[in-house]
């Protein structure tokens, strides 16, 4: 099972790597418009795009083979616990993402690297937690974009609250903001995902998403309220 999932993850990486083709395009664009980018900036930007695309695609494709190949019944009938199935699916995908992030850190380290890495992991986790609900890839891209926008905007507003309660260090306000907002979205989203997986059976998937409504709707409303008020 792990071998199959690793193969699937590498295939997604290969699909995402198509963005590497944009390197020569960016070189030519740079030569034409003369934006002043150097080679490192071009590589670093393309690398980030590839990582983000991989993070979204690999997360969303967690159950793609079961959905596309009608293999849910097979998966549910074999003696593997839901936790083990999830681990087999999650670990290769997350492992490859970590390798990409570490490689990026080694090649293009900047002071923004930790926050970039944090947001890529958040995007990956959002995609994983939404993976069971996806009907079409494009709609899911939009959903992830909206949730990411909520996290990003709320994490920008959070320092205002933190300063008010006496946390003034820029380092701590940045990381506490990211941590609180990320956790505020990801914990309920993860709970909805796990609850769905734990109780999942061979009924049509669309009738099994009640947990998402219960867990996610209040969080989105609270985040939106927080952004509007603060």
């Amino acid at each position: 099972m792990l071998k199959k999932e690793l193969r699937d993850s590498l295939w997604v990486l290969l699909e995402s790597s198509i963005f590497l083709l944009s390197i020569p395009i960016m070189f030519f664009t740079e030569k034409f418009f003369k934006w002043g980018w150097d080679t490192t900036e071009v590589f670093s930007l393309v690398f980030i795009i590839t990582m983000v695309v991989y993070a979204i695609l690999s997360g969303l494709s967690l159950w793609q083979s079961e959905k596309k190949e009608d293999a849910f019944e097979y998966l549910l009938s074999i003696p593997l616990s839901r936790l083990r199935v999830l681990a087999y699916k999650f670990l290769p995908r997350f492992g490859i993402l970590l390798v990409l992030i570490i490689l990026f850190g080694i090649l293009f380290f900047t002071p923004q690297f930790p926050t970039t890495a944090f947001f890529i992991v958040v995007v990956f986790l959002i995609a994983v937690f939404l993976s069971i609900t996806i009907s079409t890839m494009w709609i899911s891209f939009i959903e992830i974009g909206l949730l990411y926008f909520l996290v990003f905007t709320a994490s920008r507003k959070m320092p205002i609250v933190l300063v008010k309660i006496g946390i003034t260090s820029p380092y701590w306000t940045l990381w506490l903001s990211l941590f609180f907002v990320g956790a505020f979205l990801l914990i309920p989203l993860g709970a909805a995902f796990w609850s769905t997986i734990k109780n999942m059976d061979a009924r049509p998937l669309k009738v099994q998403f009640k947990s998402y409504l219960i867990f996610l709707l209040p969080v989105i409303c609270l985040l939106l309220g927080f952004i509007i008020i603060v």
């Binding site: 099972m1 071998k3 199959k4 083979s65 596309k68 190949e69 009608d70 293999a71 849910f72 019944e73 097979y74 549910l76 009938s77 074999i78 003696p79 593997l80 616990s81 109780n199 059976d201 061979a202 009924r203 049509p204 009738v207």
Partner: protein, 274 residues
């Protein structure tokens, strides 16, 4: 032994089963039948653990280990497999999940399937034989087969049924089959369960059923008998009688016929549609 107690299940609003009970002893071969949409495949899926009952329970007596799915072989009408895998990869995956050291591919050897072919490129019959071989390789104690043997050609059907008989005899296998080609399996089925509206309408040993269901060809309807269903065949009326009593022979003017399993089931199902 499989014991289903007070089981309720529904896909959406309408219950497929409500307070359903059934017990199937070890080493019995059962045929579950009924009209389309009655819940035959759902019953197999519930036993296989791929559907979860809303209430009630399904118990497995005997040495089934920590996870009953280890001892259950289930092949659904959807032929659910990872179809993007090659046959060799599917075998590899199955071996690793069931922790098999060896894989008995004796059934696959009867076919001309190339193990490097992707499952999706195989015909339905070939996919069926791959799936059946995967299931048989794990030496299940309970086998749940849903309407798939019909897809096999005559030779492969024979191979599968021979293997099935071998497993039933050697491994004391319990088998539950759904609406297969009755003619093929008539000699191995011991019990017939006919479902209607989420409950059991008929539950009989096949020998008893053959005694109790007869067909009468008669110009005048034998209205004094319990007519299960009637059909017009070549301008002559046929009446399925259930339960038949030997005493009836004295009162019937037409011909009385013994029936095979196919006729019996079609008699019952005809009654459902009437």
């Amino acid at each position: 032994m499989i014991e289903i107690k007070n089981l309720s299940f529904r896909y959406e609003k309408k219950f497929v089963y409500n307070d359903f009970n059934l017990a199937i002893p070890k080493n019995q071969v059962c045929l579950v039948t009924g009209i389309n949409g009655v819940g035959k495949s759902t019953l197999l899926r519930l036993i296989a653990g791929v559907l979860k009952p809303r209430t009630g329970e399904i118990k497995f007596a005997g040495d089934m280990g920590d996870d009953p799915r280890k001892s259950i072989g289930f092949i659904s009408d959807k032929l659910s497999l990872y179809k993007n895998l090659t046959v060799a990869q599917a075998i590899d995956l199955h071996k690793s999940v069931y922790q098999l050291d060896e894989f008995d591919d004796s059934m696959l050897k009867h076919t001309k399937i190339d193990y490097s072919q992707k499952i999706k490129s195989l015909s339905v019959g070939q996919q069926t034989i791959v799936h059946l071989n995967l299931i048989f390789s794990t030496n299940p104690k309970i086998l749940l087969i849903d309407e798939v043997i019909v897809a096999l050609d005559a030779y492969l059907k024979k191979v599968v049924l021979q293997k099935l008989i071998q497993l039933i005899t050697e491994n004391k296998l319990t088998v539950i089959m759904v609406n297969l080609n009755f003619h093929d399996i008539e000699h191995i089925v011991e019990r017939v369960i006919l479902l209607k509206d989420g409950r059991i309408l008929v539950d009989e040993k096949i020998g008893d059923l053959k005694q109790k269901v007869k067909k009468v060809k008669s110009a005048t309807p034998p209205e004094h008998l319990p007519i299960l269903s009637r059909s017009n065949f070549n301008n002559s009326m046929e009446y399925f009688i259930y339960p038949f009593n030997e005493e009836y022979r004295k009162t019937i003017s037409g011909e009385i016929f013994d029936l095979n399993l196919t006729d019996i089931v079609s008699g019952f199902i005809g009654g459902e549609y009437a």
